[in-house]
Symmetry: C3
Subunit: 259 residues, 3 copies
Amino acid sequence: MAVVTIISDWNRNDYYLAALKGRILSLCPDTTIVDITHQVSSFNSAQAAFILRNCYRHFPEGTIHLICVNTESSPEKPHVVIHASGQYFIGCNNGFFGLLLDEDPEEVMVLKKDPHHPGSFAELYGFADCACNIIRKKKWNELGTAPMTVLKQIPILPTIDETTINGSVVYIDSFRNAITNISRELFDQIRKGRPFDIFIQSNYYKINRLNKNYHDSSTGELLALFNSLGLLEIAINSGNAADLLNLSINSVVRIKFYD
Amino acid sequence: MAVVTIISDWNRNDYYLAALKGRILSLCPDTTIVDITHQVSSFNSAQAAFILRNCYRHFPEGTIHLICVNTESSPEKPHVVIHASGQYFIGCNNGFFGLLLDEDPEEVMVLKKDPHHPGSFAELYGFADCACNIIRKKKWNELGTAPMTVLKQIPILPTIDETTINGSVVYIDSFRNAITNISRELFDQIRKGRPFDIFIQSNYYKINRLNKNYHDSSTGELLALFNSLGLLEIAINSGNAADLLNLSINSVVRIKFYD
Amino acid sequence: MAVVTIISDWNRNDYYLAALKGRILSLCPDTTIVDITHQVSSFNSAQAAFILRNCYRHFPEGTIHLICVNTESSPEKPHVVIHASGQYFIGCNNGFFGLLLDEDPEEVMVLKKDPHHPGSFAELYGFADCACNIIRKKKWNELGTAPMTVLKQIPILPTIDETTINGSVVYIDSFRNAITNISRELFDQIRKGRPFDIFIQSNYYKINRLNKNYHDSSTGELLALFNSLGLLEIAINSGNAADLLNLSINSVVRIKFYD
């Protein structure tokens, strides 16, 4: 049974999502459709990429992911289908895939413009038709008109020197924990076993140890841990770190190591 | 595989929706259940009709749509099952179907009152049982007790004369674009090739051209286009038209044509 | 076809839910996954229990329910799988099941700690693996490491004497109706046919009759009825009882009976 996922910024209160699901089920009745989320903030490709990159590997091989965020296309930024890591991705080649994928995809194909429904939204015909062509085992070369390379937005990476990592918040999760772009690998590589302080919002808040989990600290206490993504996360046990510390996307998190 | 859709004003934070899905899967295990949306504002039949009328045609023939908004019934406004456009609709005959369907349905049948669960909500037994009877190919005459005609609420239509269309906003979408009740057909019929101004909120804002898509205008610019429904839509490129122009349902949008 | 439900406080804007669904579909491709709700307030086990206890019976026999609220485990409060009322429940044995189930479950088994993915969230491996082991008909004894009894949080019950019931609000539903912990059985048992007043928020508001349904009262009128759960509910016809009467969880609802 084929699996198609949908991620969008449609916020579930429109008819787009239902129309798209209806059309997929009309074309390919046995498809299992999974919502990734429809609460991406409007036009926020970085957030969509963060969510999808942290879950797509768990889906069955051959799953088709429809990325319905920022899908207005142009000749330079056309709709494409991508084959990578054993899965398929359909979206707009506008830099999003540089944020989503760690490696260049094996195959990228430009979708042909749908000539029959000029006034409709792109996903309803172009994306659904391409997904169903994949499900029906159409050959790769027939899925679109021409190969293309992937355009890349570059994610913001921490800056480092021998005693410092300057990172930033890249995501606020449902529990209002702040996830940074500082990976455990980078941390270990610079730390070399030394003691450290993690400074949040200039030097007002600091943390000098790492938790294994949230409950290692008392209720209400500020803490830092490497989460299931291997990224440094700032949290408050049973609290709301982002709001209490006034953290948002791009807030600076700085680590200083001491000899 | 049968498809059942559900639209409601339950906002997803209650047990109703899960109970209904559980019961459908208990009665008819192979059913694919699709959420249209559960974020209809409370008791807002017009919004539910707008959303469902713009997506139901994309579902497979024979799809069964459960309309779980304003379902309190009375002898004059009973629960009914309707067969129209190759699909089935189960809901309350309270005027909703006049907003949903362009033409009178082929068949309307009054559901019998469920005698066994007087305290339960109507959808859980009456609607689910009827849906599963359709899936199990029960004869039309056995789905209910008697035929009936559809009661109609009349949608608000624009007023027109030779040089003017007075329309109104009928929907605000997820991107805060304002969708009006002015169709492309009506516009072309009155315009007859003439230049025009579209006035929004009395005469404070005006637009004198139509976009093909949102990106024809500069970022932040006010624009008008006919959307995928063929309805005039007021938007701001990468902005938030409804809030910036203080538009809401029933706000007036007036078009004046010049010789 | 197996059915797996998920209830969580993830609020749908994270990658957890999609990752979990993807993994379940990878392990057991033919599973039907149903969202109970993901809008449980953070860490609110009582709300999750209220929602799930009012819908799980409607699901097919053998349905597997994943409870993804407050899942941080400890040796005293481990993750468990429970067999009760013909269904399976996987969650943390932290008192939740005392709120969910009316009777002690037939079987409770401690899940083994997943050794391979220490940094991941518990549901993704422990819960999904256990669910798929059930679907694949693994023997009960092989689902975990040891049997256990269920730990219980006790729900708040009304206090009573011969002329009074002192209950409280236990849930505010989507329509802002206030559902109390006063059951029809308790009410009938104390009432013994006598007249009564229902007092809300000390003695400011009172109701001296029971409605059969919402529309028995005029629009805007305060009313009380026993809802589909058999619990006393305070509502306003076409209005918003919780906000207008300033009711929230734990607000007192007192009934006085007169000889």
